[in-house]
Amino acid sequence: MTAATGTRLVDPALFTSGADVRLRGSTCSDCTATTFPAGSSCPRCGSEAMTAVTLPGTGTIWSFTVQHFEPKPPYRADGEFAAYGVGYVDLGPVIVETRLTETDPGRLHIGDQVALRLVPAFTDPDGTQVLTFAFGPGAGEGDR
């Protein structure tokens, strides 16, 4: 999974570099707590010995909702507002807040298996499509 020409990642620091894009977190060398995004100090013990880690590309839905109204700026989107799913996905070492590709709450269930993918978030004034991370059903590209 890579970002194609004419696209960029919403914040490169959230992702690993290389051909197979994954979420980039950090793990504390002193107490093993894992964070996302990667941080410079540990929220659990205060240590500054944080090491970057590649987070798993699949997990299970820990909680979910659907954003039914358009947020104010700094939220950015193209065209007319469309509802989007939001959830926490349990990746094992850490539970990550994320967009969900599913927008029907009737089709979302805590415990469902989901996989990482890149989705369009908005378009820059110069036409560059900006991608962010989301989780959706199935094994997904993240496990390719």
């Binding site: 919403v10 914040d11 707590a33 109204f69 947020p71 700026p73 939220y75 094992g92 850490v94």
Partner: protein
């Protein structure tokens, strides 16, 4: 042991008051509290106060009188009122002062709060991709809670139904029209499973309290109400808080559980001793979760308590008797003090049509907010 009494209370009606600034509402509440205590501003030795978006509290001295008294601004998000009350109480307990005021006021623009990610150390991506919303957090938290403890959407609607029924009995409330459970369920979906009428809105309002040494409380006209404990806490690692790009798989109790437990311990009372409670109800699910986090009930018991009417004014455990945030809106600086104001009214027996029967003697409050703060109080008479 020295105690601190609340000897005067004042409020400016909550809601939307066009043409009246947040500061002016604060001054209105301050004058009302002084009148209630039979005092003048010149008698007040010190003050703590705050607002989130309506100006500096200490500028109220320009309206109330330039007496030279120390006035400390408190800026602590949703815990502003609780922190100001705590600081003022400690100023009296320490022996530094005998008589002071706590003021909270606010006036927010319409619509959901719009927080800058950078102010919390989060990257721009979080707001740009639509994750920086308090309403999402509350929906995500109650969805997880419902999965673990079986709370129905009927119970979520019943909380809002009760709040609006209580608000209809409160002349200072914003929302004064009762709504049926069905109309609450049928209102616009905001963040599944929470609908529009299950959420409070940012609003306006002001509350002021006059605090005095407990051994001087008999000098004032109203029945004195004593602050037995006031505790504020921030989040620990592992708790589930608003604006969290990640959570730990090792869950920890939230700041409300810790603040409430410390408050009960300091007061030497338990949840069963409480006659009337005001808890943070940013939305229906928050009231349900906070009932258990504060120890007022066990996880999952809320379903029966709420649907059976136990949390209504005539019930065994009256909760949010003034309509809570759902009926009053949430002016951040004033919200926590509104809860204390309501408990003082209830303990004095002055709550009128919404008076809790049986002459309540103990009141509990809990305020919660971004980025994971909670403040609780216990008052008695």
């Amino acid at each position: 042991m020295m105690r601190v009494a609340i000897v005067g209370i004042g409020i400016h009606p909550f809601g939307r008051t066009e043409g009246v600034s947040g500061r002016a509402q604060g001054a209105f509440a301050a004058r009302a509290a002084l009148a209630d205590a039979g005092l003048r501003w010149q008698d007040i030795q010190f003050a703590f106060g705050g607002s989130y978006s309506a100006g500096d509290a200490d500028s109220l001295v320009s309206d109330l009188g330039l007496t030279g008294a120390p006035f400390m601004n408190v800026a602590n998000g949703c815990a502003t009122g609780g922190s100001a009350l705590n600081a003022a109480r400690n100023a009296i307990l320490s022996g530094q002062h005998d008589l002071g005021m706590v003021i909270g006021f606010d006036k927010h623009p319409r619509g959901a709060f719009n927080t800058d990610p950078a102010s919390l150390g989060i990257g721009d991506w979080y707001g740009e991709t639509g994750l920086m919303l308090t309403t999402q957090f509350f929906a995500l938290k109650i969805q997880r809670y419902r999965e673990l403890h079986g709370i129905s959407t009927q119970a979520l609607a019943a909380v809002a139904e009760k709040a609006l029924a209580n608000g209809a009995l409160n002349e200072n409330a914003w929302r004064r029209e009762p709504h049926s459970r069905q109309s609450i369920l049928d209102s616009a979906m905001v963040n599944y499973p929470l609908t529009q009428y299950m959420f409070c809105s940012p609003g306006e309002g002001a509350v002021a309290l006059v605090l005095a040494r407990g051994d001087s409380a008999h000098r004032y006209p109203a029945t004195p109400v004593f602050i037995e404990a006031a505790v504020m806490r921030t989040r620990r690692y592992g708790s589930f808080e608003v604006f969290s790009p990640c959570l730990s798989p090792q869950a920890a109790p939230g700041p409300t559980a810790e603040a409430a437990a410390a408050t009960f311990e300091a007061a030497g009372l338990g949840p069963r001793d409480i006659d009337v409670a005001q808890v943070q109800d940013t939305e229906s699910g928050a009231e349900i979760m906070h009932m258990a986090e504060t120890g007022l009930c066990k996880d999952g018991e809320q379903e029966h308590l709420v649907l059976s009417g136990a949390t209504r004014i005539g019930g065994a455990m009256p909760v949010n008797t003034d309509g809570g945030c759902l009926a009053n809106g949430e002016p951040i600086g004033a919200s926590g003090l509104r809860q204390v104001y309501e408990n003082v009214l209830q303990l004095r027996g002055q709550a009128g049509p919404r008076q809790v029967p049986g002459e309540p003697k103990t009141g509990f409050t809990q305020v919660y907010g971004s980025p994971g703060v909670s403040a609780c109080t216990i008052v008695t008479r």
